[in-house]
């Protein structure tokens, strides 16, 4: 018999909790909108009330120790994008992450210097 504290659920078992249960049923995140490739960085703020965070919040926070993007986080934690957005909105509200919104595109284009850098980078692949 397995002991009480033995983990008997693993990745193969599939999700135990419906994704939006993690968000208390919320389908929109709080605060200003952010793009799929907005950069997320953990701030140096300390977690005031660890009990307020779900394990998924903590996972997201750990991933953001180095600058990463919304989609990279969603991929890494293997949660639906919409859920990750809500978790990020929570963390931002608590001051634990900074979400850097993309800069406006000038005259509908990414600025030319960046374009040239992308071109150079692609040619060097």
């Amino acid at each position: 018999m397995a002991s009480d504290d033995e983990l008997w659920l693993d990745a193969q078992a599939g999700p135990v909790v419906r994704p939006y249960a993690l968000t208390q049923g919320r389908t929109r995140h709080s605060g200003a909108a952010f793009d799929l490739v907005s950069t997320v960085t953990a701030t140096s703020a300390r977690v005031a009330d660890p009990a307020a965070l779900a394990p998924e919040h903590v996972s997201v926070l750990q991933l953001a120790r180095r600058p990463t993007t919304v989609v990279d986080i969603a991929s890494d934690v293997d949660l639906p994008l919409g859920v990750v957005r809500i978790l990020l909105g929570d963390l931002r509200e608590l001051g634990l992450v900074a979400i850097r919104a993309p800069v406006p595109v000038k005259a509908r284009h990414v600025d030319k210097n960046t374009l040239r850098e992308v071109l150079h980078g692609l040619r060097g692949l």
Partner: protein
């Protein structure tokens, strides 16, 4: 999925100077978007709230796609680290019509788009071309060379798709890394050239061709049938602001 805000850009700068650039890959179901993303980038799984259901498998049109064994659930997402501080993200826009609501989110602030086309099913890419034209998102057309598919000249394709003369059309093998890379380079070169040209005005109401490939469907007046007809029939009249009128709303003069 939809969210507010309108001033997103393709270049994201963090305090450390990290930038993330979005490029879109659009085209019909099974045209090779996932293949191309996988050929040139580190492909990463991304879950959205729209899983492919049994129901949608019946709806997805796979006629004429003999080798299609996998499907795009909602979006593909590839990552190319060009430099430590410069990362390219490739998003395959979902081919199926029921996912079009996601396009706006993907398109906002993108560097540009590649419309991947299969000459056997050219009509499948009409909605994507119309979409990018209407929103003035720079794009190129890449013809994925499928084994056994008849080859057409770029000019035949340009006429069939009613594309403006300067719009690049490239041929590619979506499975090949170098070929996929060349497609992305062609897009960035095009965007750069457009930025240099400082947006000259396009003539209004022009229809550049007869809208048909030899023996095939075309965009313009050669009307494809079915659900894409409304979008496909919106041949270019002007780079106007949205909302775009349907064909029935347009004066037929």
């Amino acid at each position: 999925m939809a969210y507010g805000g309108s001033d997103f850009g393709g270049g994201v700068t963090t305090s450390r100077g990290h930038r993330a650039i979005k490029i879109l890959l659009a085209g019909g179901f099974g045209v090779g978007k996932t293949t191309l993303v996988g050929a040139v980038s580190e492909i990463r799984p991304l879950r959205t709230e729209e899983p492919l259901t049994e129901n949608s498998r019946r709806v997805d049109n796979t006629a004429g796609i003999e080798r299609k064994t996998t499907t795009t659930v909602a979006m593909d997402f590839g990552r190319i680290t060009l430099r430590d501080d410069l990362v390219l993200y490739l998003f395959g826009t979902p081919g199926q019509e029921r996912f079009w609501f996601m396009w706006d989110e993907l398109a906002i602030g993108a560097l540009g788009a590649v419309v991947l086309a299969d000459t056997r099913r050219l009509a499948d890419c009409f909605p994507a071309i119309d979409y990018f034209e209407r929103r003035e998102i720079p794009f190129i057309v890449a013809l994925n060379r499928f084994d056994g598919a008849r080859r057409y000249s770029n000019e035949d394709v340009r006429a069939a798709l009613d594309l403006e003369p300067g719009l690049p059309i490239v041929s590619c093998d979506a499975r090949n890394r170098e070929s996929a890379k060349e497609v992305l380079i062609a897009l960035v070169e095009h965007v750069l050239a457009q930025a240099d040209a400082d947006e000259p005005a396009l003539p209004l109401g022009t229809c550049h061709g007869n809208g048909r490939l030899p023996g095939g469907a075309g965009r313009c007046r050669g009307a494809p049938s079915g659900a894409v007809a409304r979008q496909a029939l919106c041949f270019r009249t002007a780079q106007t602001a949205l909302p775009w009128p349907s064909m029935g709303d347009q004066p037929q003069t």
